[in-house]
Amino acid sequence: MVKISDVRQEAKRLLEKGKVRGVVGYVPGTRGGWAIPYLIQEAERAEQLVWDPTCVHNLALFVVEEKKEQAKQKEPDKRPLAVMVKGCDSRAINVLLQEKFINREEVVLLGVSCENSGVVDRRKITHLLHGQQAGEIRFGDNGNIVVVVNSERRIFDPQEVLADRCLECQYNFPVVFDYFYGEKIKKTPPAPYAQVEKLESFSLEKRRQFWEEEMARCLRCYACRSVCPMCYCAECVVDPISFAVEPTTTAEEKAKKIKWIEKSPLLSENFVYHLVRAIHLAGRCVDCGECERVCPEGISIRLLNKKLEREALRLFNYVAGTDSQAPSLLSTFQETDPEDFIW
């Protein structure tokens, strides 16, 4: 079991010694027992850190955000940032390292194990509790999840409450870290691509129908993109506006910015947006599931990324975020890559 007191102590020590400029971790949120991401900068606050199955957020995102923030500063604080990372967060960190967005020295990774379990899906819990508020949610034994409702302890089987991504996860403890808390019990999900395969088994017509229904709902609030640690580009290719304006950027350059898709949430544009995003995440998405979690319309974005994750594995034997030194999926090739689809 992760002893949160150990994490707190280390966080406190790092802050006291001034070794890090902050600790990104989870603290209790305002509404019920749901954790929120937080940047701790005062040592005393380290006591607030928590680690429980409501720590759903991929904190690698804040490494990205903080990096950009520091870049804007006149006198950037060069000290590293400490971050709590679970399995998927750490893989995201690996991709960031692989893509040289960050250097290893810029982060101190406080690795926490998902304890042979994972994080919960809020929708599932809400559903199971029939509208009652969960007071507290903890890791139980054998991967079970303990939910305290009105001071009554209820124990749930992981299958019932864990986020889908955790049920399909094979990296339930960090792959890169400086400190490690908890146990390394490797999970082997019985069917990591069950949902993808189910969709594949549908007829073309049915798949089309499925996706049309999904995509039609997209509001283009861009929460999926905003939450993704891999979507760190200064300016997304599908943005119609020039974000990355520098003093040297000419009017011509701004005028030439291509509108690959229109801003309107039309079905076709939503499709192209999500397709571009899926392709851009091929070999980079670490299946933290955040995009799907945050979508206010409950669109199955993960199913898209998961498909390409599976193809990367099946066709190219590539798994994202496991090796920060290897070339990226699409910046390398093998002589033996499949080509039976080519005429």
């Binding site: 073309l204 049309e212 076709s268 397709l275 498909k307 990367a312 090739f333 890559d337």
Partner: protein, 140 residues
């Protein structure tokens, strides 16, 4: 479905092999349907997936990407990267319900005028029964 639909095809042809191969088809006075408009690029490796998605978005019924045979790439290995990228796209598009026939990749060398002709014929033939592509097409 409109079986008489004349599919609109965009073909990204690499300059050194496939575009030259299509020239060869011309020089040999081979005939193929006029449904295809070629865009000559330097290398199949320069064809970004977003070109293909965009072509569908702008109303293409089919998209062809054609490059040099493995080992013949003028730029050594551009076609190898293309092969990887396109393999993923080829998987992804039908997964979303776009007919797999709508996107095709081929290897055509500068000498293969006949092959190029055949590919276009086959491509058009396989697109015709599908009718117009409206799935990703922008309709304002």
């Amino acid at each position: 479905m409109n079986k008489d639909h004349e599919p609109r095809i965009v073909a990204f042809l690499c300059k050194w092999c496939s575009s030259a191969g299509s020239d060869m088809a011309g020089v040999s006075r081979l005939e193929y349907p006029p449904n295809v408009i070629p865009i000559t690029v330097m290398c199949s490796g320069s064809v970004s997936p977003i070109y293909i998605l965009s072509a569908f978005n702008l109303g293409a019924d089919g998209v062809l990407v054609s490059g040099c045979h493995p080992g013949d790439c003028h730029y050594i290995k551009g076609n190898m990267y293309a092969r990887r990228r396109m393999a993923l796209l080829k998987e992804l598009l039908p997964y979303l319900g776009l007919e797999p026939e709508r996107f095709q990749m081929s290897w055509v060398s500068a000498a293969e005028g006949v092959k190029f002709t055949q590919i276009i014929k086959d491509f058009v033939a396989q697109l015709k029964p599908l009718g117009p592509q409206t799935y990703l097409r922008r309709s304002l």
